[in-house]
Symmetry: C2
Subunit: 319 residues, 2 copies
């Protein structure tokens, strides 16, 4: 008689939704709980979700909890030290609070790192040892897995892909630099560039995007996927910028696999091929030839799955 | 009574000179042998140097040999698979040949990797765990040490810093891309840019460089160090390009230390401060704040010392 292997709980508190999952030891999602994020009561909301999912786990039990958060997590303490999107996290000690409320070990991780780990264990990164993960959403995030482990860097800030300079004479970025990848490739900047071009370019009035007053980067991606020429052009250019940035990663790290996720990937094969083409054009060829560039497969499960698998693989669960 | 700790021999066959050293287990150079490189008899020249240095080692003995070569070394076989500068290396099996001739274990490593390891063990990288090494010479080379070990990447090509795109609309590079760092910052390209500017700019005739028919990047560096305004401007600009490239490394890896070596460093503090300024301007600040950017200290010893220390730390010396 074998004991059923324990499950893990992964929670994503990185966006506007709260997204929790019961995850098997193999990374498979067994149950989901989604709700609007209670911005000033994240700890209590997380404790309730853990309690519900633990009940759902039944006899298999839950061996640990992982939480992916928007912001920077201090490696030693597990405290969130910077979080522009959710400043309440920096005032609380979510790890200690959740651990006290549930009696379980808890790990906290930056959301891009958690998503990278999710794709690595159970998504498009499966089978690789070295992986760079990029997510294009409100910002441009990146995370590195080297030799099967998250690479956090000297002070926990590695993977700041969005602030690589793409155009030394480009647009001013919120970080103070000019021409960061984020100034052209983040969701809001894709919208900004598209709007500017719609105003400027008479032919663009033909685009279905021109019919809308407000639109999002996802709308641009969907229009492109449905064959809108103007949206295609905007995403093709976005893909080129991302490809140029990835070429730097490929040249420096001779990385085995690159996984692209986030809203922009809703444009599918079209954006991926633009990225791959430019990365190939701008990489040192022997480096490029050993890199696979693929689309993420876990979608919104990437953070919960990755956080749960980090709990599984963590040697020092606080409990 | 303690046995004296064994020594190692490190050899640099990366330039036009052959440069061998007897190196203590702590990375200190005990003896040097320099000569013109015998381009078609590298194996025999290396075997002679090993024999001489072994004699010099006396009772302490020599425990292994490391060789730094220009070109790409295949990690598994230790064969040189690509070497633009010294194609004879790809036809021979230098490791097997030298090992057979000396009866010692031999490791082969790419010269930039060996230099990085030398600086890491016994030079400007001492005390760090994570290091990026850049050398500006005929080309622009880079090498990474992560968690105390050389990071070679998926197929052995990591650290191709010279082919990072600095200016997407820049000059055509020999690699096929446009605007690679190497197209502006390598020794020959510093000379090219300086010559172009001397032709174009009337005030530049005031520069002492204008008095020479032929000059090298080292001449530009020396002129800058002696206060020549024009040479200072050329190197200040070169430093900015290098700083922009380093900002990508800093953002991606949140690296602890960056060590700059090669001919350009003969301009000293002036070039270093231009590099640091631009890297700071173009980095994500939390990443930049934990990075030290320093000048290499081993000069021409970096490759022999690093190769010797790689022999010391190699688990699989071929003998």
């Amino acid at each position: 008689m074998t004991t059923p292997s324990p499950n893990y709980i992964g929670i994503d508190v990185s966006g506007t939704t709260f997204n929790a999952a019961l995850v098997g030891a193999d990374g498979a999602v067994l149950q989901r709980r989604e709700a609007a994020l209670e911005r000033d009561g994240v700890g209590a909301q997380a404790a309730r979700a853990v309690s519900e999912l633990r009940e759902a786990a039944g006899g298999a039990g839950v061996a640990g909890v992982g939480v992916g958060v928007t912001g920077l997590v201090e490696p030693g303490t597990g405290r969130v030290v910077v979080s522009t999107d959710l400043p309440s996290l920096t005032r609380a000690d979510l790890r200690a609070e959740l651990s006290a409320a549930t009696g379980l070990g808890v790990v906290l991780e930056n959301d891009a790192n958690a998503a990278a780990y999710g794709e690595f264990v159970a998504g498009a990164g499966r089978g690789s040892r070295n992986l760079f993960y990029v997510t294009i959403g409100t910002g441009v995030g990146g995370a590195l897995i080297l030799d099967g482990r998250l690479w956090r860097g000297d002070s926990g800030f590695a993977g700041e892909f969005g602030h690589i300079t793409i155009d030394p004479e480009g647009v001013q970025c919120s970080c103070g630099n000019t021409g960061c990848l984020e100034t052209v490739a983040s969701g809001p900047n894709i919208v900004r560039r598209t709007q500017e071009r719609l105003l400027r370019d008479s032919t663009s009035s033909l685009s279905r995007l021109g019919l809308k007053r407000d639109f999002t980067a996802a709308d641009v991606a969907h229009a492109a996927q449905e064959g809108d020429d103007f949206a295609l052009m905007m995403l093709e250019r976005t893909g080129r910028h991302i490809g140029q940035g990835l070429a730097a990663v490929i040249n420096l790290l001779n990385i085995e696999r690159i996984v692209l996720g986030g809203v922009i990937m809703e444009a599918g094969e079209m954006i991926l091929s633009a990225v791959v083409r430019e990365a190939g054009r701008r990489s040192f060829q022997p480096c490029f030839e050993s890199t696979q560039i693929v689309a993420a497969t876990l979608a919104r499960d990437s953070v919960p799955v990755g956080a749960a698998m980090l709990a599984r693989d963590s040697g020092d669960l606080a409990s």
